[in-house]
Symmetry: C2
Subunit: 249 residues, 2 copies
DNA sequence: TAGTGGTCTAGACCACTTG
DNA sequence: AAGTGGTCTAGACCACTAC
């Protein structure tokens, strides 16, 4: 009992509750790949026994990671490591044509893909030194046989080197599953910023829209399980197809 | 014990856990005004005793309402009914000029305010019969001595009747605190939908922007504690001042 | 010092899923 | 039937806030 009290005081001094510490340890195992995405983690009872804590406490730790979106609980089946984002989530911002336009995956056409020197700002995003190398990709996305979105994507090297080996016609329509299978990167979180401007000449040409047509610009930072930025993306689409819903409080 | 088991079975049959039921009862007291916004609710121990349940269960019930945004817990002080939205939250979508533009409250200029017959769609939003009366308000909002936003607001009558009695020059810059003080309505949730279009002649005039200038349109449905829609608002602003950040997962 | 919420324990039984 | 998470109990002590 005295041991437990002492331990409690030490952890409190460190600024973390017991379940907070446990949550951090569980997170470490997920991040390290010890428990891969889609797999079940050990049962509550087993974990409680392993850490030498009560059931309620391990449940609290798990609840933290569920809240963070790292874990998913399913009654009767177990607790699972969440798979990464599908990547189709960018379409949340646009509604093109048909009724099922929201769910359909637009076809991807790679316009260019080459290794480049990252400028200072871009390298900093990826936590790399200035002048580090990256992959610069230009992509056009089609829906209903019409060009809908224009994307400029930057990825850090050498982390995404495997992509260079794979011919672009084998990439498929979604980047994130590709990052998972080829580079072992799970995209766990993305932050999108929306602004608005008019299209440049070349952009308008590629999107088959009039010159200086209004467009919505979505700037995305995507992060892996560790919280490291692993993608910077600039998406442009017809402003008049933009539609977004926000729920406040 | 047998009583408790029986009760458990009945409640399960009803599809609600014990803490779910308790949460519903607490919510009812909040909605009814029994526990007004900003006030503390009784302590956990007192509630547990009143409902004849364990501490952990009442805590779970409270957690539900915290998650819904109805309650707020503060260690050492108590659990409080959350006050409604301030109404300034619409500025989340726009960044005008200065650094503190995000926090500043724009000055409100009421252009018109009159009682009208609501059309079918509008009456349905408010849960009123077709042809019911409502208040139609046009408002222009200023920041840095420039017109920034144009708002068309509809409110249900007779719920908001008190507003008609008050001269518009005494309304102040924020609508929601006014709805609280004059009509006893707490705005607890809002759903905003963003689209883009170009300005009509009259709109461009009022915003001192060129004709057919691109604009962002925010369509808002606001709801009270009961979940009833109590405001429909259409806000228009310069598209080039639009900026919004979304965090995915 | 008294009262509040925050953390933690060591059990019990229930509901759901799978084999 | 066995294993999982979901609900609930009846306590204990700690950290924070206010008087």
């Amino acid at each position: 009992m005295a041991d437990i009290d002492l331990l409690q005081k030490i952890t409190s001094a460190a600024g973390l509750s017991r379940y907070g510490q446990i949550a951090a340890q569980l997170q470490a195992r997920i991040v390290s790949g010890d428990w891969p995405p889609g797999e079940a983690i050990p049962a509550e009872g087993a974990l409680a026994k392993e850490f030498g804590i009560a059931l309620g406490t391990i449940r609290q730790a798990i609840a933290v990671l569920v809240q963070e979106g790292l874990l998913e609980r399913v009654q009767g089946r177990g607790t699972f490591v969440r798979k990464g984002l599908s990547g189709a989530s960018l379409m949340r911002f646009f509604r093109f044509g048909g009724a099922d336009g929201a769910t359909a995956v637009p076809r991807s056409e790679i316009l260019s893909c080459r290794a480049v020197r990252l400028d200072k700002a871009m390298a900093e995003r990826f936590g790399l030194p200035s002048g580090a190398r990256g992959l610069a990709i230009t992509r056009r996305r089609w829906l209903d046989d019409k060009p809908r979105l224009l994307e400029s994507i930057w990825l850090p090297l050498p982390r995404c080197e495997a992509l260079q080996q794979l011919p672009v016609w084998e990439w498929g329509d979604l980047l994130y599953p590709l990052l998972g299978s080829q580079c072992g990167i799970t995209v766990h979180r993305a932050v999108d910023e929306v602004t608005f401007r008019t299209l440049a000449h070349d952009e308008a040409d590629l999107l088959e829209l009039p010159d200086a047509h209004p467009c919505a610009v979505v700037t995305r930072h995507a992060f892996d399980l560790r919280g490291t930025c692993i993608e910077y993306r600039l998406t442009r689409g017809d402003a008049f197809a933009f539609r977004y819903t926000a729920d406040i409080r």
